[in-house]
Chain length 328, copies 3
Amino acid sequence: MGFHHVKKIPAITFFILSILSSLPAQAAVREYWIAAEKTPWNYAPSGKNLINPKDGLGVWGQSLIYTKYRYIGYTDGSYTTLLPQPEWMGILGPQLRAVVGDTLKIHFLNKTDQPLSMHPHGVMYDKDNEGADSGKGASVLPGKSYTYTWVVDKDAGPGPNDPSSIVWLYHSHVMSEDEMNLGLIGTIVVTREGKERSTSNPIPQDIDQEFTALFMIFNEENDEESGLKHAINGRIFGNLTGYETSIGERVRWHLVALGNEVDNHTIHWHGQTVLDHGRRTDVIEILPASMTSVDMIPRSSGDWLFHCHVNDHMMAGMSTRWQVQNKK
Amino acid sequence: MGFHHVKKIPAITFFILSILSSLPAQAAVREYWIAAEKTPWNYAPSGKNLINPKDGLGVWGQSLIYTKYRYIGYTDGSYTTLLPQPEWMGILGPQLRAVVGDTLKIHFLNKTDQPLSMHPHGVMYDKDNEGADSGKGASVLPGKSYTYTWVVDKDAGPGPNDPSSIVWLYHSHVMSEDEMNLGLIGTIVVTREGKERSTSNPIPQDIDQEFTALFMIFNEENDEESGLKHAINGRIFGNLTGYETSIGERVRWHLVALGNEVDNHTIHWHGQTVLDHGRRTDVIEILPASMTSVDMIPRSSGDWLFHCHVNDHMMAGMSTRWQVQNKK
Amino acid sequence: MGFHHVKKIPAITFFILSILSSLPAQAAVREYWIAAEKTPWNYAPSGKNLINPKDGLGVWGQSLIYTKYRYIGYTDGSYTTLLPQPEWMGILGPQLRAVVGDTLKIHFLNKTDQPLSMHPHGVMYDKDNEGADSGKGASVLPGKSYTYTWVVDKDAGPGPNDPSSIVWLYHSHVMSEDEMNLGLIGTIVVTREGKERSTSNPIPQDIDQEFTALFMIFNEENDEESGLKHAINGRIFGNLTGYETSIGERVRWHLVALGNEVDNHTIHWHGQTVLDHGRRTDVIEILPASMTSVDMIPRSSGDWLFHCHVNDHMMAGMSTRWQVQNKK
């Protein structure tokens, strides 16, 4: 939590003073340094089908490594020390965090060879901070940087029926469809005011653990089946690892999707159910750009499947495992 | 609001007296005169891609004008004076309004060359007033008229977790799939009893403004891509205009879809989020015949995008703009 | 209700004693005997399009009878007397029932020629009782039997915003996609503790009638259109019969789907609306493995349509009727 910079706001001149003035004193400015970088990406680093080893990787294993563009987090403006992120985040960019009332200041450096941007869902911005369409931040040229200011107002926070934190997507939005497919995707988690552990640690007090999962079919070869990577956080056939928890933990799952007409996914956990806005289920329906957060407390130990329940997607490797240990 | 006829009900002989007898005294009979008409329709009247002018209209611009069949509202039974409707309604038929307890009396005149009907969602009817399947109103021949009586009972009104008004679709249902594609689509908005501004004005007191959006891919050329018009209220590439509001207004969005397997849409606003049954989001998932109503209070001025977040749909022009002015 | 065996639990040695110990005294062990069997299945036993007789069955009528694999319920371990089930259940396996706190003991006999299993959603199990992936119950060989023990804990029951009972799917999960398509599908209904009529009758007190509907396109001929049976409980073009109720009855609909990318269905009733978690609608959106339960009290008598609102699905026969009689 100490990896992004947090500043208390003593007095601030800002484009929406009227909103900020009603916020509690501890409102913070949270700074992130994020670079867009070209990097090789392996959809299945083990080279294996870890779900059903005998079946192999099928046509989807013909080629596993592709050049992707990713959002990479750094600890400061020297862009030298990586923001650590857990293995299960896969291809996702850094998970930005804020409490309602905070401001996010995102220093974006485009280290790639094409114009890119960062467009956030949920948070408040003016046209120059939209990271899309028009305005100064809509297109950041190769080698250039831009600082986005996003206000985390009440309308960016959990609604009355939401849990204590909710998830938003951010993604590049110059040629939006292409850039999401390139891998320029991340998430923002916003905690309800007063529910954060502390000003420096915005994770809610009422959860012990958080996982994020992006269900998206990357299209690597112009619609050829072998290039349709049915991925969870950019990994296929069980190659996403690290969803590890224990019985009794209060676990929040942030679920998102992006993509195309075929990206209608039904996220299913074996071994435990979730509470989805007061509804009990073990299958969550998502479509491109869906964002939802659901809760569970694991009750049965095991090495459980976690997969999309759409037949063709299952067969194409859109599955991995989550592990539940006995009580710590 | 004075454009449809409202009659107080003093005493009424009706097919469901038992229900009406329990309604408050101010229950109204609301009359509408609606004709089905053949009319040319232009999916992009400007002839331009108003979202990304440089990109043009692509294959979808090869042909823009088609003959559609539409529901056209008139002020009375002479069918001469048009019911005015805002530009943003596009291809939609008149938005019918009622308060729980009211009765809708719809005088339908088929001015086209094929049998048509009006089938409503939500409201109460008997077989002759279903506008579908069998019964007297199931098929109204060319040149003929039929009066539908629809009872707006409690089960047609908002549920306990709904906002103060909800939206229902109506559409022709002789050869239902064909006729929806022809453009024979409209909406009914039902206000919770006691939440209306007055008997003559059923709009809820707790909102300042209302918009309706139909996300639907019209199929004009037997599945040829150039004829697949990825439209919002029948307009593509920013050609739907008039979604104009101001900071601080209480705005309700009535969202509907119709169509086929590809009509899974994810409606996204730039610039502001919505409350969807207590859930905070800026993306609403809809499938064919989905109907949902969500609320927002605009917080940031700008000329914002409003689009489907499915990649292919965005690229095919399923987007437009909504404008937020500074406070009035 | 007397067809499955119910045992009171006096003292039980079980893999999760800690959970059971907190359950009320009347917790029951409910036993079912279910065989998987190969059997011919007719998608339209009448041989007719009962919705629009003049239109016929189209390409989908070229072949109506296929060999399916089904879950068949028996009254005891002799597997001789069938568990009765209503006509409207169609191809579905027996509807298992439990109250939160109960344990389900499922004696599964594989009478077919290939390895199969029973994998449940929602309920609590250890790896040997998952009926999937690995563990003793993951693959039951032809001629063999296996007894699954599923614990119906609080996380298998209705959430705070759910009605008094909710539905879960169960299905075979050796080669999951193939076996669901073969017809190996059933449902479990779990009633909130204290809401059951009695220990021997777990149906909730607050409803009078229950229907279950599976919307799924069976794929009988390797994606050939004629073999894509757009079915409700395995019947097409109105051939599912028995959804019969009366005005004023409290009716719960358990809605489920399974299948593929095209199995995004929008379930629509003519004649009445439903309450879906406090939301009023007459269209429920489901994707593969969606499971949801909604309530209605019929208000208008008639022989009403019940269908998927996706155009191609309607045309392919994904519709039937439900009948509302006048008050009993």
